[in-house]
């Protein structure tokens, strides 16, 4: 078992084959040299100086990430970016000087007017920090001093698929590894019995957009870094449960026989991959215990249920997933990705958004408080936000009680907490229309660079060579936003 441990801790030592796939990645010169130099590969797997992973690159502030992704793009104007000007100039057309050539989606490109629409939700300042939070989020308002609100996020994408893909993989188009996979690749697992990157999904009643497995795909990285979807039903991990009629000890008995035959065959063939297969079967066996155990929230005391809200007892809800996320974090999962669908309010925004906010408000705040009371907020980075913002003008009929907003990539808000992020600050500013950023813009690449930084990873150094190129999560850009780091 000693050996097993080193395998799971060092992402490069999984097996020999894997080791060499890494090797050919890091050092093109070696591959070429060995053409004429026969003894280059002798001596077994020994790390070489030019190997890319000297990790962590510096002392990490966070050990893990919980990303509360609000899929569909919640409006910044009804949540964290308070714009009284919109009320004052309600119904006026968005000035061209403000729009300044911004392209529009096909949904509002046909509108002849872009009437400014104020927030239906009232705003107030909260905490010592005086952060503006709307009445849709009363619980998040109470943790204002624990979080850092970034009001100056921006992206290039204006449609859901490319925009979510951008946030999750650093590229608008499919094919790159998810950020969770990058973290798993860079940092490995803290746990032998659970995957290092897991995904939990839930859906509100609001207008919703699909999710895709590519969002948690490992792209060109080894597929063991792929996110594992944890589900609320009988099989939290696909194929986790044994069939009816088989007990735990029956399974052990079966596996022991599989192993002993595999061992015989290992001796015969000399293929060490068989040893690795035996180890994977053992891990699977352990997962059959550890996953249901960590997913079992029945052990949580009443006070915790109360903190997260009644929904936390209903499997598959956002609240249950938040509680689940904390348990997974406690058990050493490196990257916990939640998605809550339903934030795409092209119409009926005040109602739908109130409903969506109700789904997530209490549990999001509870997660922060819970981590804090356990002393885990220090090294757990929590992120809350969607894929872009929404327009300051109305989509569809102009009705202050029932309006919609289209997609807006130029400025939107997210918040982060814990894991080396400064608490109780608001970063970045938009203009009085909430349309353009006027101070401290944060691009998705910067956001990724900052998260990586807090995990002890230099976003320019964590690379993987594929198709001849050294790929990074941040592609060729990204600056760490030092002002929001403790």
């Amino acid at each position: 078992m000693e050996e097993d441990k080193s395998k799971s801790e060092n992402p490069l030592k999984v097996n020999r084959r894997h080791f060499f796939s890494q090797l050919s990645v890091g050092i093109g010169s070696l591959a070429l040299g060995s053409l004429l130099i026969p003894d280059l590969f002798k001596g077994g797997p020994k790390p070489l100086a030019s190997q890319p992973l000297g990790i962590p690159h510096f002392a990490p502030k966070a050990k893990r990430v919980i990303y509360l992704f609000q899929s569909g793009a919640p409006s910044q104007l009804e949540s964290f970016d308070y714009k009284p000007t919109l009320a004052k100039r309600m119904g006026e057309d968005l000035p061209d000087s403000v729009r300044n050539g911004q392209r529009l989606t096909g949904m509002t490109a046909g509108q002849d007017k872009f009437p400014l629409m104020p927030s239906a939700a009232k705003f107030a300042q909260h905490g010592k920090s005086g952060a503006w939070v709307s009445e849709f989020f009363p619980h998040i308002a109470k943790i204002a001093d624990d979080i850092c609100i970034v009001k100056s996020m921006h992206t290039e994408a204006i449609n859901h698929d490319p925009a979510i893909t951008f946030f999750q993989t650093g590229s608008q188009q499919s094919g790159r590894p998810s950020m969770g996979s990058w973290m798993s690749y860079g940092l490995g697992s803290e746990n032998q019995n659970l995957p290092s990157f897991v995904v939990l999904t839930s859906r509100g009643k609001g207008n919703s957009q699909g999710l895709y497995s590519k969002l948690w795909s490992s792209g060109f990285l080894d597929s063991k870094h792929q996110g594992v979807l944890l589900r609320s039903g009988k099989d939290p991990v696909l194929y986790l449960n044994d069939p009816d009629g088989i007990s735990r000890s029956d399974k052990r008995h079966l596996l022991d026989h599989v192993s002993s035959l595999n061992k015989l065959h290992h001796i015969e063939t000399g293929d060490d991959e068989i040893e690795s297969r035996i180890a994977q079967y053992e891990m699977a066996y352990r997962m059959q215990m550890s996953v249901p155990d960590v997913m079992d929230i029945k052990k949580e005391p009443e006070s915790i249920i109360k903190l997260y809200g009644e929904d936390s007892q209903v499997p598959g809800t956002y609240a249950a997933n938040c509680l689940q996320a904390r348990r997974l974090a406690e058990n050493g999962v490196r990257f916990i990705q939640l998605y809550h669908q339903g934030w795409d309010q092209h119409g009926n925004l005040p109602n739908e958004m109130a409903g969506q906010a109700k789904d997530v408000d209490q549990a999001s705040a509870a997660l922060i408080l819970d981590l804090k009371q356990r002393g885990m907020l220090e090294d757990t980075l929590v992120i809350w936000g969607g894929e872009f913002g929404r327009t300051n003008y109305c989509q569809g009929n102009f009705d202050p009680k029932n309006y919609g907003r289209d997609h807006h990539p130029r400025a939107f808000s997210i918040w982060m907490a814990g894991g080396g992020i400064k608490p109780g600050i608001t970063f970045g500013e938009t203009d009085e229309f909430g349309y353009n950023i006027v101070k401290n813009p944060v691009h998705i690449n910067d956001f990724h660079a900052t998260i990586m930084n807090n995990l002890g990873l230099d976003h320019e150094q964590l690379t993987y060579k594929y198709q001849g190129r050294r790929f990074r999560l941040t592609d060729v850009a990204g600056n760490v936003i030092k002002d929001i780091i403790t």
């Binding site: 096909g106 009629g245 029956d250 063939t269 991959e273």
Partner: protein, 780 residues
């Protein structure tokens, strides 16, 4: 035989030891690379260019916009020129490393001088520095990139050992083995060999009759006969198609967020037909790239062009179609690059290629071939499309009973139904511009269709359309097409190509381990009229292919990656082959060919949890099929891009959003769970147990029979003992727990036979032990 092997082994060991001494392996060293011996003659392509490319080209390579200090190292003339920012100085002076700034700066200690600069995170090791020095001393000769030089058949190497080898391939392999102090393994045993060949050519285990025939026949050409039989089986076309579907990014859904249904499966039926008819590879490509433009193009030729409509198409509301249109055209361009030419063309979309001599202009010249299709993107959102059964975006062809009764008889279409398949046409000529930074809304200079001269000049006689492009691609002087294909076939058989980066034959890709063999195979393939079956047979008749895959400790140490092929590879089968294998060995496999894709078992709720809510589109809820549709080969499993069949994804299948030519072969706990608990697997174990109980007497033959059916060999005594013990333990258990036996054998839809539940359950679990063995899911 055994003594011979031992002598060989000792010899190998001695030689290895000698090498180790000679190269200073036992000396104390201060740098991992110091002890490496420099080659007598430094080769530009194999030694120098990889160093320059990996470390220098980003700033001193083909990309004119990012070039620093006016220095360009990928081009001979430029590399020897006077440095514009350093008059009187030169990066390279042939024969004079001390006057070559390139070398001076590479070995400099001054952080302001040293190259690559420290902030690049790149660094040359001592060996690389010495290589550069020696190369300059020897005259700093440049050469065209190896993959851009047309392949030639070299003379067969004369090797010391003369008692091994079946054909030309072996001469090349043996040469490298000898160079590396290795020797080939003995031939694999007959059981292994027939299983290997069957898996490679049909993706299925051999059937009992084939095994019997093969083992009982000792004639010299029995191997050849077996290969011919596998090649003639319809399963061959399915097997080859399976691999091509990854290249062609085939799916039954449109991709992107709503990811609704599309009907491209008749195109897939055509591919099966093409492989089974052994359509030469050049024609196979020409039809797919430009079938519609061929003289007298008929339905079949047009159908083949569905290849270039297999890319994802968005149905998201509010998209700017022009943006997505540019994605579609790029996708075709990139697929030509990765799938057919082995080039990372997409790297030249936003700027000149950083490593290969491909400009952004080159990219858009190729792009323009694919830019004339009268397509607007899906004109309906998923909801409307579902209502109106709008499953194909124009242009498309409609296939009715008339066609399937005639020219398209190979399509397995349900009678009476019409099906639309998206195809290519050039009815909407568009101007193509170089997009600044690759952005669709930032057009620059206009370009005309063309191909990079560095690969092969586009002949004046060719039309400047996709047909001309296809002719250029399949020109026998095109240095890439044949190499890339034979390399992939090699990779299919050996687990990895002679060029490991099958997707990248550019300067940053891996170099071939056996360049002369690759070239010989490529030429031979073209000389034999691009005959795919010929190519497969050629490789499979080599002694190299027929070696045993057993790896001794010595040989593992000497060549852990098995680069030199002193043994046959041993690797896990793909998810599709594993599932098909289990269906076939259990007796459940439904051998129907082609037709609309099917929905076998899938864990419930997967589509429902991730869809866009409600009933947006067709593929929002998963309802498994019934009856024999549950047992079709895996290439017919309905492929939804945003959530591909989990039993395939878990085994490293790509999602088919983009062209892929190489799958990983990982080994994970999720695979272990799928093999143990997927109902498809459990049901197969149950049905196999019931078949054996019903067919075989006496009962003491049951375990042996199950073993034989799954592993296509007899169990060894020790194995049989373990399994017999297991079976009797299980029998004891279920005798005490009859209820659990009943529960266990309730797995799957397939009718339960009238066999004793206790015995069935015990034998089913025994079958499960065998299905979960590494050997079962491995090609040996």
């Amino acid at each position: 035989m055994k003594i011979k092997a031992i002598v060989l082994l000792i010899l190998t060991g001695l030689i290895a030891l000698l090498f180790a001494f000679k190269s200073g392996l036992f000396k104390a060293v201060d740098d991992e690379y110091v002890s490496q011996k420099l080659p007598d003659v430094v080769d530009y392509n194999f030694h120098i260019k990889p160093i320059l490319s990996d470390n220098c080209y980003t700033c001193h390579g083909p990309d004119a916009n990012k070039r620093k200090a006016g220095l360009r190292l990928d081009d001979e003339q430029a590399a020897f020129s006077e440095l514009p920012e350093n008059p009187g100085k030169f990066a390279i002076v042939a024969g004079k490393p001390n006057r070559s700034l390139l070398y001076q700066q590479v070995v400099s200690d001054d952080p302001k001088q040293i190259m690559p600069p420290p902030d690049s995170q790149l660094k040359l090791n001592s060996y690389e520095k010495k290589l550069l020095k020696k190369w300059i001393e020897q005259g700093a000769k440049f050469e065209k990139h190896w993959a851009f030089i047309p392949p030639k058949k070299a003379d067969l190497p004369q090797n010391e050992a003369t008692n091994w080898g079946e054909n030309e391939i072996d001469a090349f392999i043996l040469e490298k083995l000898e160079e590396n102090g290795l020797s080939p393994s003995s031939k694999a045993d007959d059981h292994t060999l027939i299983r290997r060949m069957s898996l490679d050519l049909t993706g299925l285990p051999p059937n009992a009759a084939q095994v019997r025939l093969f083992l009982s026949n000792s004639s010299e050409d029995i191997l050849e006969q077996a290969i011919d039989e596998f090649l003639a089986s319809p399963a061959y076309g399915e097997r080859m198609t399976q691999v091509w579907l990854d290249v062609a990014r085939y799916a039954d859904s449109h991709g992107y967020q709503d990811d609704s249904y599309r009907s491209m499966w008749p195109w897939r039926d055509w591919v099966i037909h093409a492989f089974n008819n052994n359509l030469p590879y050049d024609e196979f490509l020409t039809l797919q790239l430009a079938g519609d433009l061929m003289p007298n193009a008929g339905m079949e030729q047009i159908l083949a062009t569905g290849f270039n409509r297999n890319h994802p198409i968005t149905q998201e509301g509010g998209v700017i179609q022009e943006e997505y249109h540019s994605y579609y055209v790029s996708d075709r361009t990139n697929t030509l690059g990765k799938g057919i030419l082995g080039l990372t063309l997409e790297c030249a979309k936003c700027h000149d290629h950083k490593y290969d001599q491909l400009s952004q202009r080159d990219y858009f010249e190729i792009y323009s071939f694919f830019n004339n299709v009268n397509e607007k993107g899906l004109r309906m959102d998923a909801v409307q499309a579902a209502r109106q059964k709008y499953f194909a975006d124009a242009p498309y062809i409609e296939i009715s009973d008339e066609e399937t009764a005639g020219v398209l008889s190979f399509i397995n279409k349900p009678e009476g139904e019409e099906v639309k398949v998206m195809v290519m046409n050039d009815s909407m000529p568009r101007k193509t511009y170089i997009f600044n930074r690759g952005a669709y809304d930032s057009p620059g200079e206009e370009v005309a269709p063309g191909t990079p001269d560095i690969i092969l000049p586009f002949s004046e006689n060719l039309p400047k359309n996709r047909l001309g492009l296809a002719k250029w691609v399949t020109d026998e002087d095109n240095p890439l097409t044949s190499r890339v294909f034979v390399n992939r076939i090699w990779g299919m058989l050996f687990g990895k190509g002679l060029v490991e980066t099958a997707e990248d034959f550019g300067v940053q890709g891996s170099l071939p381990t056996h360049p002369q063999l690759l070239d010989w195979l490529a030429r031979d393939f073209v000389e034999h009229n691009w005959d795919i079956k010929y190519l497969l047979k050629k490789i499979m008749l080599s002694a190299t292919y027929q070696q045993s895959s057993v790896a001794t400790e010595e040989v593992k140490k000497a060549d852990p990656e098995n680069r030199w092929l002193s043994r046959a590879p041993r690797f896990r089968m793909s998810g599709e082959i594993i599932r098909d294998y289990i269906l076939a060995t259990s007796g459940l496999l439904n051998k129907e060919i082609g037709g609309p894709s099917v929905k076998p078992y899938q864990p419930p709720g997967l589509w429902e949890e991730t869809n866009a809510g409600g009933n947006r589109g067709v593929l929002t809820t998963y309802v498994a099929d019934e009856g024999d549709k549950l047992y079709r080969r895996s290439l017919y499993t309905l492929w939804k891009r945003t959530l591909p069949p989990p039993s395939m994804s878990i085994f490293d299948a790509p999602n088919r959003d983009i062209c892929e030519v190489r799958r990983q072969k990982t080994n994970t706990p999720l695979q272990a769970l799928a093999l143990q608990n997927d109902v498809q697997m459990l049901e197969a174990a149950r049905v196999l147990a019931q078949n054996v109980i019903a067919e075989i007497q006496p009962p003491n033959q049951w375990v042996t029979t199950v073993f034989q059916r799954i592993l296509i060999r007899n169990p060894k005594d020790e194995e049989l003992k373990v399994l017999e013990n297991y079976y009797s333990d299980a029998l004891d258990k279920f005798l005490k727990e009859e209820g659990n036996a009943e529960k266990l054998i309730a797995q799957g839809e397939y009718k339960n036979m009238e066999t004793d539940p206790v015995k069935t359950a015990a034998l089913m679990l025994t079958a499960q032990v065998i299905y979960n063995l590494d050997e079962t899911i491995t090609k040996e």
